[in-house]
């Protein structure tokens, strides 16, 4: 018994684990256990007591009321002196109070998320731990637990989680392991999570797509959408099921607002032709470069120029958002002309190689001549006998 008591008193869970073995196991894996935080730091009570009644005496808190939790966590996490050594921020509670989650909780709606819903209760892990629900790749699923299909808090609207999983951002983050792709919190905020206002969409998207945002603001769409109360980027690209618009689909996208015989529709079509033309030219030039590299010719120069052309083409894509034909044309035309230049030069070098074939014919003439001369010598040496 003494050994048991000694053993349990050595771990931060104290003797609570005698009655709460599951919680003890979960807690032992958490970052809090590693930092020697004990059950009583959150729950109070008497950890050395052997009976439940004694243990749960005095200021003991079960923390079963969800509304208590944010304040509870903030006792440490809002204390700059305590958090300084971990280099952690202390503004989580303040942010949380401004969030949709926080305001709902304040109003007494206990369905709204509190700290433990996203971070776990006893088994709280660092957010850099891939097992943690707040790990970047796990965030969509964590949010999806409430904003998903099964338990939608969004009423009859299609769930944000399902839509997100169909979008290009989810594909980049989860399938291609691109850490730059946003999960939910990059657009909505972490502790201060809230839906974006209609006028704020372009600002949020522009955090990453800055070139597209700049172009969008220069173009006629920005003012027109504000006037019409349309949610900027989302109007064409969707919010959660964010789609990387293919230039080939531009007719379909424009026709959502513009008549197919309108001047605006025609501008879209012209941009498509410009971009597609440049893309095709670059693909053709690239193929020729590859052909030349197997000949073999020096192609590193050409490859670098094609890369430069691709950069110009990439600039043309955000320029589409200006809806200004000259803007798009400028970048696309540079890309295209670079591609044409490379193609023409490679063609020249390849045709020089056909000179080798002509050389081969001359070479064979000499080979046959040599053989004929050798044959004559042979006959002469035979006649000598």
């Amino acid at each position: 018994m003494i050994v048991l008591v000694l053993f349990f008193s050595l771990i931060p869970a104290g003797q609570c684990g005698l009655c709460h073995p599951e919680e003890r196991v979960q807690f032992a894996e958490s970052i809090h256990a590693q930092e020697m935080i004990s059950c009583t730091d959150c729950h109070d009570g008497d950890p050395s007591a052997i009976s439940p009644e004694q243990a749960h005496r005095g200021k003991f808190r079960s923390l079963k009321r969800r509304t208590e939790i944010p304040k509870m966590c903030a006792r440490c996490h809002s204390d700059p002196r305590m958090m300084r050594v971990y280099n952690l921020p202390t503004d989580q509670l303040a942010l949380y109070r401004t969030s949709q989650h926080g305001t709902q909780i304040d109003r007494g709606d206990t369905r709204a998320a509190v700290c433990t819903d996203c971070h776990g209760t006893h088994k709280i892990l660092r957010s850099t731990d891939p097992e943690s629900p707040s790990y970047i790749r796990n965030i969509p699923e964590t949010c999806g637990r409430c904003h998903g299909e099964s338990e939608s808090v969004e009423g009859s609207r299609p769930s944000s989680y399902t839509a997100y999983m169909q979008g290009v951002h989810a594909e980049e983050l989860l399938k291609k392991n691109n850490p730059n792709a946003p999960e939910c919190s990059r657009c909505h905020g972490i502790h201060g999570a809230a839906p974006a206002g209609v006028g704020d969409v372009s600002k949020i998207c522009g955090n990453c797509h800055s070139a597209a945002l700049r172009a969008f603001r220069e173009g006629p769409h920005a003012a027109a959408m504000t006037e019409a109360g349309l949610p900027e980027c989302v109007a064409c690209h969707d919010n959660h099921a964010t789609a990387a618009s293919d230039i080939q689909d531009i007719q379909e996208i424009c026709s959502e607002c513009h008549a197919t015989d309108s001047a605006e529709f025609e501008v879209g079509e012209k941009m498509r032709v410009l971009i597609t033309g440049a893309e095709e030219q670059l693909a053709k030039a690239h193929q020729m470069v590859m052909q030349a590299s197997s000949v073999p010719l020096y192609v590193e120069d050409y490859l670098a120029r094609l890369e430069e052309a691709r950069t110009h083409l990439m600039e043309a894509e955000p320029a589409i958002h200006t809806i200004s034909l000259p803007e798009v044309e400028r970048s696309a035309a540079i890309a295209r002309s670079l591609g044409e230049e490379v193609e023409a030069e490679i063609e020249g070098e390849l045709s020089e190689l056909s000179l080798r074939k002509i050389g081969l014919i001359v070479f064979w003439f000499y080979i046959l001549l040599t053989i004929w001369i050798l044959f004559q010598y042979r006959q002469r040496s035979l006649r000598k006998q």
Binding site: P296, K357, F363, W364, F375, S381
Partner: protein, 379 residues
């Protein structure tokens, strides 16, 4: 003119008093260039004159010059290989880049590289053709056993030379096809253990590359050279093969005519090599990607038949069991003279033997095609 020849003779005489020139030239003739020995006790000019005056047998012409062509092509490979070795760097970091430099930066480097590759392929073709001829003519029967064995070993050595050469090329396709071929070699019981000791696993590419480089430029060429010497030594002892009826034909040609014949063939072969090098360039391929096997790989063409043979068995059969058959085939091939001791002089038997030979050749061609069209996925 007469003065000049006089001076040349004076120079030869001067050297002759100080060096045994006849012996030196005799050493060169060991490699099949002369059909007869030089009398080393006589001065060079006299010994050569004596040898040149001897008439050649009427049958010393195509196709009995294939051994000589092997020598010539081998010398050609030595020459081009020497030039390539000036610029090649046998380290994994630099090998691919150094080949790019050879092919694009060095003047006529691409040409030397292509000639080296196509020369090696032609050398293999001639070695195989020579063996097929020996096989059909029954030239492995006494007293030609050793000539057959050296011819077979020459082919084995040449395939190793080609194989190591492909590895040195350091491009992805060659690397992975060598790797596949090595897996085939390692799976052969007993011999595979020996191979895997010499070649070892290629996980550590650094060591493999330097080891292969050593084998390619020194070990295997020396072995090849030794085998060539043995082969020619056997031929000088036994004489060229003769076809029934030819041996009684009067000797017609003398050495100069024979030399002209050879030169004509050499010039023609050189023409073919240049044509291949210009029209069918060997691509560089991509640099090696150690992590991903490219799909649709082909092992070198001369290994396709053994590969097809191993792959035709159902997959539940262990690879070592399948390659045991390969080992048996290889041993039968090399030790053929000691296994087939019948005489084919009787006309009744000869016809039967020809049919068997054709069937064997057809089986080899079948397996080559089978190996070539097997679908090999990446993985």
């Amino acid at each position: 003119m007469a003065n000049e020849t006089g001076r040349l003779h004076q120079l030869i005489d001067w050297t002759e008093k100080r060096l045994n020139l006849t012996e030196m030239v005799s050493l060169l003739t060991m490699f099949g260039l002369f059909y007869t020995e030089l009398n080393t006790s006589k001065p060079l000019s006299e010994a050569v004159r004596e040898a040149l005056a001897k008439p050649l047998p009427a049958y010393s012409r195509w196709p009995r010059v294939m051994g000589l062509l092997v020598l010539i092509l081998f010398l050609f490979e030595l020459g081009t290989g020497l030039l390539l070795a000036f610029y090649y760097r046998p380290t994994p970091q630099e090998s691919y880049a150094s080949i790019l430099i050879i092919a694009r930066g060095v003047r006529f480097g691409w040409f030397v590289r292509q000639m080296h590759f196509w020369g090696a392929q032609l050398l293999l073709v001639i070695l195989i053709a020579r063996l097929i001829r020996f096989f059909f003519r029954g030239h492995y029967r006494p007293p030609r056993e050793l000539i057959w064995i050296t011819a077979a070993l020459l082919l084995v050595t040449a395939t190793h030379l080609d194989f190591t050469g492909r590895f040195l090329a350091s491009n992805n396709d060659f690397y992975w096809s060598s790797r596949r071929a090595m897996e085939l070699l390692f799976s052969i019981p007993i011999m595979g253990v020996f191979f895997s000791f010499v070649i070892h696993e290629i996980e550590d590419y650094t060591f493999t590359l330097s080891r292969f480089y050593f084998m390619h430029i020194l070990m295997l060429p020396t072995l090849f050279w030794g085998l060539l010497y043995l082969s020619f030594s056997g031929i000088r002892r036994i004489g060229l093969t003769e076809i029934k009826g030819e041996e009684h034909r009067p000797a017609r040609e003398t050495f100069p005519a024979h030399l002209y014949n050879l030169l004509i063939i050499v010039v023609f072969i050189f023409g073919i090599l240049v044509t291949f090098s210009v029209l069918v360039p060997v691509p560089f391929g991509e640099p090696i990607d150690y992590l991903e096997t490219p799909g649709n790989l082909r092992i070198p063409w001369y290994l396709l038949a053994p590969y097809g043979l191993v792959e035709i068995f159902p997959s539940w059969m262990p690879i070592s069991g399948r390659s045991l058959i390969l080992l048996v085939v290889l041993m039968v091939f090399i030790l053929l003279p000691f296994l087939d001791r019948r005489s084919n002089r009787e006309p009744s038997q000869r016809r039967r033997i020809w049919i068997v030979n054709f069937v064997l050749l057809a089986v080899w061609i079948f397996f080559t095609f089978y190996g070539a069209f097997l679908d090999i996925g990446g993985g």
